[in-house]
Subunit: 430 residues, 2 copies
């Protein structure tokens, strides 16, 4: 349940999609790493807040207690700490596992691919962070998914807001996950969860509400920097200063048109410490995407300066910022679009079918195809001793093979091959 | 334990290696499929004989009973049955899991990649089987791993041998796994396991010994076809007939020089029903490979005509033959070889570093690099506001970036960029 096989047509589409994402990551100078699907259970515990219950655990069959990775970020942090790496730009494309309620039509599975790009190291503020946003912008533009917006916020600004609204620090993370629901449910519901489940006073909730419903650009950052209460909070001030710097860099990248500073963005995970962001596709009228109500977030990420330290015996910190592309949702959209267009993706790359027009020519086919393979040419033949020529040409049409190399008795006698272009039926002897 | 991270240098080598294997599979017209790492526990049970104990099971966390796949063959058979596919040529490159005793220096891990190519469908005998052997030959030749031999046998011949030596049919599979040890231990040990653990009579074991120590080529096939007892056995006769046909096709492919018909080859798995094969690297003197005593098998496979039927509610059979490339062992060899050569593999593909020679030019760098990315050029810059030029050029040398695009105050004023070839220090203004 919540997993799926990818038959050839889907696998080919996926290869194309992952290819586009990986080529963007490489364009930004990232190196690949690979880590096991299995992690020690203790590595994953205490990193995902309320979602820890979604971790797949392996049976204790004697040996270590293991679990399936929940994302690629925690394994990356574990990798950096274990290998004492201080600085690295890496990408990782691999499957992750969550015991969630699957919603397969919206592209939510229990096993799914993540495509992560992260920059680890002590650098000048906001330069790597800006590059992560540039990457999201490039990928979503390249894939022509339609209009999108990248929401940006900072955990320090949120925490500052909570502090000046009278939330005790011990409740920051839990209130954060409540705020994060604002993109799915109206403020009233979020407010009542704050007051009920999370135990805030109605006044505190209302004060939070005034902030977290704000969104805008540089103007909003400036306004909040002037806010008498918020600007007094050290964390919030730092966050707002960095946000301003980030917008400056994004302006140089020419992408602020798609960026929204949005105080309702909180992101569920515990480990974020600074900038956070999330890209959302915008609904389009007269478009198939329209049917995918709630496709929502297609990329997300942020800064996590404390995570590596949690794995280091001496608590040595390595600041990190990264982005994860929500490839499954994008895949669902592209799949629906491909289906609607009626276009058929080739599932193989075969260039030529080796065919014979008469009986008893299997030996000739085997000899010729062997020569073609040895010359690096992608070639197939039917696995029949005496296939009909029509069947062989039909196979070309069905699978999109552009050429047929035909050897009959005459060709054998003349020492030639008839090369036929399947679509035009034109032939040359060579 | 028994798993490993792949840092960038290893990941790059692995990408190159998998690329070579996949390109061979594509050359033979295979389509890709993808299946989940998780399978229902019941899918995997009863398919791997004595090795079933090595399957990783997931904890029962409510829901289905799951396990990690042990290989890519059983999931492929399950896929064919579930989707009622009668004919398919597919490849699959993915990780599999075995709770085995790891022997990491010999490339044996608990999590490792398999690279499988399989042909499913009802075809004329031995044509797909011959192609599988051709593929092994192509890959091992391409990778220049040194001399190798591909051992070939047929389960029907083995079963015929067991039958005429007086082994009851119920013991065939168990005696098979004993015979399979002949490549690692001497005949005397195999014999005593047959008599002791497997309960054969000493005479039966001796009669088996006369056959399973034979190996050769077409001549041996002919000799056994004349063997008065063996040729009376229906299964063995079929197997020998097909083996003769196989050698005919392999002669047309020009690869019999590396093929050995070897009656000791049995292969451990239950599901083989016909041709089986295994490629072994041969020890070479004055070579680093020499140190890898026991690297042994680097590819294997065979025909399994009954496996798909085990998953079909109506028992509908789909004949299959396939090959699995033992990528981890090959990887270990290439890694050692690379280390010995001192060659350094680049881990990124960055073409140009955007650099500045003076302070306060971060904006110029951000603007230029953004233009380069948008033009599809692989570019990096240091994440510092004011890095020293020397440090920037040093980064190019360390990571193998061939070009530096330098913008200083003068260049900005002139509206140009200095493009520097890092190795020669030659510059052009453009």
């Amino acid at each position: 349940q919540g997993t799926r096989d990818h038959p050839p047509a889907q696998a080919a589409l996926r290869e194309r999609l992952l290819g586009a994402v990986v080529s963007c990551f490489k364009r930004h100078g990232a190196a690949a790493i690979d880590t096991p699907v299995l992690e020690l259970r203790e590595t994953l515990m205490g990193k995902y807040g309320e979602d820890t219950k979604l971790i797949y655990e392996l049976q204790d069959q004697g040996g270590e207690l293991l679990a399936l990775r929940y994302d690629l970020t925690v394994p990356f942090a574990r990798y950096l700490a274990m290998n004492k790496v201080n600085s690295m730009k890496r990408y990782h494309v691999a499957k992750v596992y969550r015991r969630d309620n699957p919603a397969t039509t919206r592209g939510r599975y229990r096993e799914f691919y993540q495509c992560d790009f992260d920059i680890a190291g002590q650098f000048d503020p906001m330069i790597p962070d800006a590059e992560c946003l540039k990457i999201v912008h490039e990928i979503l533009s390249d894939l022509q998914l339609g209009d999108f917006v990248i929401k940006v916020n900072d955990r320090r600004i949120l925490n500052g807001v909570f502090a000046i609204c009278g939330v005790p620090e011990s409740k920051f993370i839990r209130v954060c996950s409540t705020v994060d629901k604002l993109d799915k449910v109206p403020w009233e519901e979020v407010r009542s969860e704050m007051v009920g489940e999370k135990g805030l006073s109605p006044e505190a909730a209302d004060r939070i509400g005034e902030y977290v419903q704000l969104h805008g650009g540089l103007d909003l950052i400036e306004r909040l920097l002037q806010d008498p209460k918020l600007s007094q909070n050290k964390l919030a001030k730092e966050g707002l200063g960095d946000m301003k710097l980030l917008f400056e860099y994004l302006t140089l990248f020419g992408i602020t048109g798609k960026i929204s500073f949005d105080l309702s963005l909180a992101r569920g995970l515990d480990y974020y410490t600074g900038v956070i962001f999330e890209a959302v596709l915008l609904q389009q009228e007269n478009e198939h995407v329209e049917e995918l109500v709630g496709v929502g977030s297609v990329a997300g990420g942020g800064r996590y300066d404390g995570l590596v330290g949690m794995f280091d015996p001496k608590g040595r910190k390595v600041p990190c910022v990264g982005v994860s592309i929500g490839i499954e949702r994008i895949f669902s959209i592209l799949e629906q679009r491909l289906e609607a267009s009626g276009e058929k993706l080739r599932t193989t790359e075969t260039q030529v079918l080796v065919a014979t027009p008469q009986k008893d020519l299997l030996a000739a086919r085997l000899k010729l195809i062997s020569e073609l393979w040895d010359a690096g040419i992608k070639a197939e033949m039917l696995y029949k001793k005496d296939p009909k020529l029509l069947k062989q040409l039909q196979y070309c049409e069905d699978t999109g093979i552009p050429l047929a190399a035909i050897v009959g008795e005459q060709e054998l006698a003349d020492g030639v091959v008839r090369l036929r272009e399947v679509s035009t039926r034109e032939e040359v002897r060579m």
